[in-house]
């Protein structure tokens, strides 16, 4: 792939995520989406940089702030919006909502609302991949809060022990809801924790999607040749409130000056400089049509029938 093609892919994916989430935020006050939403606005580069380095058959295990990961990995956008609307055409047939997006055909395994629970699942998928023959890799996405859970350390230890094909990706936005990392952890950087488990790591400090992609692609290539696991930590910034569609700088737990540092790094601004007007216009038109379709589809889809309440508790034998 040429640099220009790659730039177009980054731009398209980030633009799609950003515009979908802006539309979600715009619609949210109408109460059409009766589900907690954790927006990725500002954090898209991590999901996009990593997922662009993966194949469709590779596994990703997103967090509850997972819209970006779902979209970047190629999850079905219509089914996503329908899921947020609680419709029967949703990716979880209306039973999961924003925090439980899933699309196994795109390798998007279900997102979990309990911090850190997806990490060992991703390790298990890597175990499956290692026993299989199709050379897949698995990616666990998690925030800087999840690394405080015991299960993160248990998972790193086991993955390191068994040398599993997994990439641990820490999306470090520095806040666990409203509490900054300095009030929660000692000042050893998270990526350096990996060394304790014999896991090589790297760190991208500035949210640069090209750097994230390069780091992820290098690790993924080594995973496919039998090395690993690896950990990639990316500092990034959440522009919106922890949960909900609004800004929250007025709450006083963080300073708007923090955001000022990140605005100039907005990949939609930086990537646009490297794109021709023609290709940018083409991407924008294509993405906006896709978004209109998705929201129309969600709006027009039926809600689940009452019989759905008791359906799918168990999977019956084939």
């Amino acid at each position: 792939m040429t640099d220009d093609q790659l730039t177009q892919r980054f731009y398209r994916s980030i633009y799609l995520i950003r515009k979908i989430e802006e539309e979600i935020a715009r619609i949210y006050p109408t109460d059409k989406i009766k589900s907690p939403i954790h927006l990725s606005i500002g954090q898209e580069a991590v999901a996009v940089g990593v997922c662009e380095a993966l194949n469709t058959s590779d596994y990703v295990f997103p967090t509850y702030r997972g819209h970006a990961t779902y979209i970047a990995k190629g999850g079905n956008v219509k089914a996503m919006i329908a899921e947020l609307y609680g419709k029967s055409t949703g990716c979880a047939r209306g039973k999961g909502g924003s925090m439980h997006l899933i699309d196994p055909h795109a390798g998007v395994m279900g997102a979990s609302a309990v911090v850190g629970t997806n990490i060992p699942l991703a390790v298990g998928a890597a175990l499956s991949a290692k026993l299989g023959t199709d050379n897949r890799v698995s990616v666990a996405f998690f925030g800087d809060g999840a690394v405080e859970e015991g299960v993160f350390h248990e998972s790193m230890n086991f993955a390191g022990l068994k040398k599993l094909p997994i990439l641990f990706v820490c999306e470090n936005n520095d806040y666990a809801i409203h509490t900054p990392r300095k009030d929660r952890q000692s000042d050893v950087p998270i990526y350096r924790w990996a060394e304790s488990y014999g896991i090589e790591s790297s760190y991208v400090p500035d949210g640069d999607v090209s750097k994230i992609y390069s780091a992820a692609a290098a690790f993924v290539s080594r995973l496919r040749s039998g090395e690993g696991p690896f950990l990639l930590e990316c500092s990034i910034y959440r522009w919106k409130e922890h949960v909900g569609p609004n800004d929250d700088f007025a709450e006083g737990y963080r300073d708007a000056k923090e955001l000022d540092q990140w605005i100039p790094r907005d990949p939609l601004v930086t990537l646009a400089r490297d794109l021709s007007n023609q290709s940018r216009s083409r991407i924008i038109m294509e993405v906006e049509a896709l978004i209109t379709d998705a929201f129309d589809f969600a709006q027009e889809s039926p809600v689940p029938d009452a019989t759905e309440l008791l359906a799918d508790l168990f999977q019956e034998a084939n």
């Binding site: 596994y59 295990f61 949703g90 990716c91 979880a92 047939r93 209306g94 039973k95 999961g96 439980h100 899933i102 699309d103 196994p104 395994m109 279900g110 979990s112 309990v114 629970t117 990490i119 060992p120 699942l121 991703a122 390790v123 298990g124 998928a125 890597a126 175990l127 499956s128 991949a129 290692k130 026993l131 299989g132 698995s138 015991g150 299960v151 248990e154 998972s155 230890n157 086991f158 022990l161 359906a311 799918d312 508790l313 168990f314 999977q315 019956e316 034998a317 084939n318």
Partner: protein
Amino acid sequence: MKRILTYSEAILEATRQEMERDPSVIVYGLGVNDPRGIYGTTRALHEQFGNARVFDTPISEDAMTGVGIGAALTGLRPIHVHIRMDFLLLAMNQIVNIAAKSHYMYGGAVSVPIVVRSIIGRSWGQGAQHSQGLHALFMHIPGLRVVAPTTPYDAKGCLIASIRDNNPVLFVEHRMVHNLKGHVPEEAYVVPLGQARILAQGDHITIIGISHMAVECMRAQHELAKVGVSAEVIDPVCLSPLDMQSIFRSVERTKRLLIVDSGWLSCGASAEILASVAESVEDLGQIKLKRMGYAPVPCPTTPSLERLFYPNAQTIAQAAYNLVKNEDWAPEDVTAQEVIEFRGPF
């Protein structure tokens, strides 16, 4: 001549046959490949199937449960073995929040075919943290199957059914039944999950025994027969789903119900069975009801107190006789050989 195996041998045979049949079956857990092989239930499987499919783990129940679930989500059929049921408390988040929920919460998009085997300990001072029968915690959760077979025949058939099931199954074994012997056919067979087994037919009282207590109930049934009380003994085998129809049919005939659990009474399996009976049987006022189980304390280690912690054949027979005859009577002490013969430290 009927082929006789111990319960442990039946578990091992079921596992081996399923691993031979289906390469996606894996076995893991603390000690599964050590020389003792979880009381023989996993012995030498790693030699036959290799270390990739049969492996020991770090002491990380939370992550290792998640690893099994992640593997199940992506095509494997893991069997995760815990030498004590008490350790499942360290895995509750993954079992309850992920395994039980995934098929429903994701609208049927994925399934979690995992078997979590765990063993309830008893005797030789197992004490408060190595003796708990926590099956009721899992019966509470929609999306989990809970199986607790008592006989070697059911152990093999239920384990095969559990491995082939596409959903998470909590497979509960009692240490005191591991050495019990019984008829086990050589070929692989399935005992459907959700069918109670009538261990003895009778007319005067229905006695339900869960896991090891089913063995004690059979001893009590034997003593009761000597004094003219005919007890029907039912082993639910599967606790979720519960085969309540078999219990209703029996209770409506005998009008007396005694439930004996390998666990505590409060919010337990016995409470669930009793509540279902109360909701469903006709002439509830004509039916006498009683429950027995662990004493409402943590299990003490000293044998003098531990003996009092559990129901036994004598106290079960005594309670049953009282329900039937409204008189006091107890058989001579009926010894449970498996408890007496058990030598620790494990």
